[in-house]
């Protein structure tokens, strides 16, 4: 069964897998998380806004993103981003966009919908009295959000945000459909070049498992540390 399992192909391709592939995956995960949380928080504030139009628009955006498969969204943005770029820069032709920028835009906008729901739950978990008290001592609404509500909401939601980041890390493997050299893409390219599908895919699965498992155990520790005892 595993008699002709070739460890050597894995060892030989390690630099390519990690230097090219994993760097792409981790950079994409990190940037999309930061962008997604920032945009997601803005969306959450919009959803909770008392301005009807704003909250309806944010809700529509979140619901749209959450009812469509990520794969379809990756295709959407792959073709759409050049046009958005053209519109933003006022160029005569749709601009050329590399797969990294395209995936980064996709994941930021897509994951923002999920981060929005997390932040909304976080903001709503803060007792109403806090906002009332902040306004009563003379803070403006933006100041109250910035200094009172959001820091607490953020702290409460750190474990959930990190869990979502682990999901995002796993989801980045889907850029495979654009033939991008992320970690899985790199493994797949070696697998097909050398005819070593079994070795490369098992190794890729093991690496993803170890990273995600270790990270989720880490989240558990953080969850215990950050929990506010009431």
């Amino acid at each position: 069964m595993f008699s002709n399992f070739d460890f050597d192909v894995i060892v030989r391709s390690l630099p390519y897998l990690f230097y090219d592939g994993m760097t792409f995956t981790l950079t994409l995960t990190a940037l999309a998380t930061v962008g997604g949380i920032a945009f997601g928080t803005l969306l959450a504030l919009a959803r909770l806004s008392s301005i009807r139009l704003l909250s309806a628009a944010a809700a529509a955006y979140v619901n749209l993103m959450r009812s469509v498969p990520l794969v379809l969204m990756i295709f959407w943005f792959y073709f759409l981003v050049p046009y958005i770029g053209q519109w933003m820069t006022g160029a005569a032709q749709p601009i050329r966009v590399g797969p990294f920028v395209s995936s980064l835009v996709t994941f930021t906008l897509f994951e923002a919908a999920y981060f929005c729901e997390i932040m909304r739950a976080g903001i709503q978990s803060i007792p109403r009295g806090q906002m009332a008290a902040a306004l009563a001592v003379g803070m403006s609404y933006p100041a109250a959000m910035r200094y009172i509500i959001l820091p607490q909401a953020f702290r409460n939601m750190i474990p959930v945000l990190l869990t979502q980041t682990i999901i995002l890390f796993q989801d980045t493997s889907l850029v495979y459909v654009l033939s991008v050299t992320d970690f899985l893409g790199a493994a797949s390219k070696v697998a097909q070049r050398d005819g070593r599908l079994v070795e490369m895919y098992l190794f890729a699965a093991a690496v993803y498992f170890i990273i995600s498992f270790a990270a989720s155990q880490g989240v558990r520790v953080i969850q215990r540390r950050t929990a506010i005892i009431r």
Binding site: L184, L197, Y201, A204, A205, R220
Partner: protein, 248 residues
């Protein structure tokens, strides 16, 4: 924008010679739903068993079930699909492997199995949460009445647990429909794959993707609407909302 819109493309004949582009999208929708439903059956069955095992009083069973959940939750779905499709036929005995490779609709069955196992880990977490959310007295009382442990699960704990976790199960079902799009990587011609094919043949990118997006939204709304009604019928007074989705 200098994109040339042409919505009439949907009514034009696709390169397969017998269907319009719109009809190919509908065929894809059929595959999406078939894959999702078959995988959901598998996920619900296995997920329930694993979820129950995680609440049994036997530590080793709990640990085995926990390992199962961690295994299927920490590997990306796409990688799992490749493992089932490319790796499994190579590592099983040669005769069985050949049979697997020659299966008609191999990508469909692979997608069903991969999605089913992937989702079963999530269902197991929900089932566990549902059982754990009930007062301990329910289990103790049923055992005290003389029910065996399996009977306590079948007649007392599970009927309540399922009704409590219906809302999170609905979102898992919506997830399985969306996740079935990943199967395009192993050649399943489901909705997203059909939209992609239409884009490649007709060059009308945005019409193809808009149509697919609308179909997904309609499916989503239909499922949500149906499940709301089911939830309302099955709601246990004073219990709904007791089960919280797990955060980790």
């Amino acid at each position: 924008m200098n994109y040339h819109w042409h919505w009439g493309i949907l009514a034009e004949l696709s390169p397969d010679g017998s269907h319009t582009y719109w009809q190919t999208l509908l065929l894809g929708t059929g595959w999406t739903l078939a894959t999702a439903l078959a995988a959901w059956t598998l996920a619900l069955t296995i997920g329930s068993v694993i979820g129950v095992l995680r609440t049994t009083p036997y530590p080793w069973l709990v640990r085995v079930a926990q390992a199962y959940v961690e295994l299927f939750r920490n590997i990306p779905l796409l990688v799992q699909m490749f493992l089932w499709y490319f790796v499994l036929p190579e590592v099983v005995p040669a005769r069985f492997g050949t049979w697997l490779k020659q299966l008609p609709d191999a990508s469909f069955w692979t997608a069903v199995v991969a999605l089913g196992f992937y989702t079963s880990a999530r269902v197991a977490e929900q089932v566990r949460a549902g059982i754990a959310s009930m007062p301990r007295g329910q289990r103790l009382a049923s055992l005290a009445l003389g029910l065996t442990l399996p009977q306590a699960y079948v007649y007392v704990l599970l009927p309540m647990a399922y009704r409590i976790i219906l809302p999170p199960l609905t979102s898992e079902f919506l997830n399985i429909i969306k996740n079935s799009a990943v199967a395009l990587t192993i050649g399943l011609m489901e909705l997203t794959a059909r939209a992609r094919a239409m884009q490649e043949f007709s060059f009308q990118v945005f019409e193809a993707f808009t149509a697919a997006t609308l179909i997904y939204i309609v499916i989503n709304i239909a499922v949500t609407f149906t499940m709301r009604r089911v939830e309302r019928t099955l709601a246990v007074p004073g219990y709904i909302g007791a089960a919280r989705p797990l955060t980790s």
